[in-house]
Subunit: 116 residues, 2 copies
Amino acid sequence: MASSTKTLRKIQADPIACCSPVRTSMLDGSDAQILAQSFAALADPIRLTLLSIVASAKGEVCACDLVEPSGRSQPTVSHHMKILVDAGLVSREKRGLWVWYAAVPERLDALRNALR
Amino acid sequence: MASSTKTLRKIQADPIACCSPVRTSMLDGSDAQILAQSFAALADPIRLTLLSIVASAKGEVCACDLVEPSGRSQPTVSHHMKILVDAGLVSREKRGLWVWYAAVPERLDALRNALR
DNA sequence: CGATCGTATCGATGATCGTCGATACGCACC
DNA sequence: GGTGCGTATCGACGATCATCGATACGATCG
């Protein structure tokens, strides 16, 4: 018996300006925790594929256009997109019956910046 | 050039020049696979901490200086360093009784470059 | 030699993850 | 309201992972 649905906060720190670079200064524990969570979102080939589809598109992409190219079931795609959204790498907007995703380039920039 | 003549372990592809950018073009499956494996090496707070210790140091760091600041046991540190080495992010050299690690900045640059 | 020291591997365990079928939810249109 | 459609959640399963004690490996030194 698990606890009730945990309403965990999306990102524990500012998603854009977080984290000191890996290469120039030593990380403290909480920075490492947040950074690791972000990289974990990229540590799956299906998520990278989904992200590349969304990020390479001009503007938004409909969720319905992600299932077939990823080769995974609809629940699996939804699961992975949620991880990308929770990591702040992708934004989600529901309009009518469809859900539209868009990349958050600032977040990718922040991760790139952490890799120095 | 700059391809090392050392006996590189089994890295599935050229560790420096791999993978097309996420943001501008769509990934194919094998690229996504390799990239995901690299990011998986960064998807753990202990490994990020270890990497930051090695990368922020001038030159090399002795393995014996990694156990205490990471707060993990020696086998665990050895395990994580192996993952970082296998990912090409860190080089390993045994001299006498000690093992010395050094960052591979080209590899970090390659990962940064993939995040576009 | 044999003793000692630093590091890697092994084995086991508990936790987390990726996956998909079934199903619930929410919106639109009749 | 009822029906149909797109998406999210649930439940379960097998696979992978992080962790550490015990131990093996290998180099140094007496």
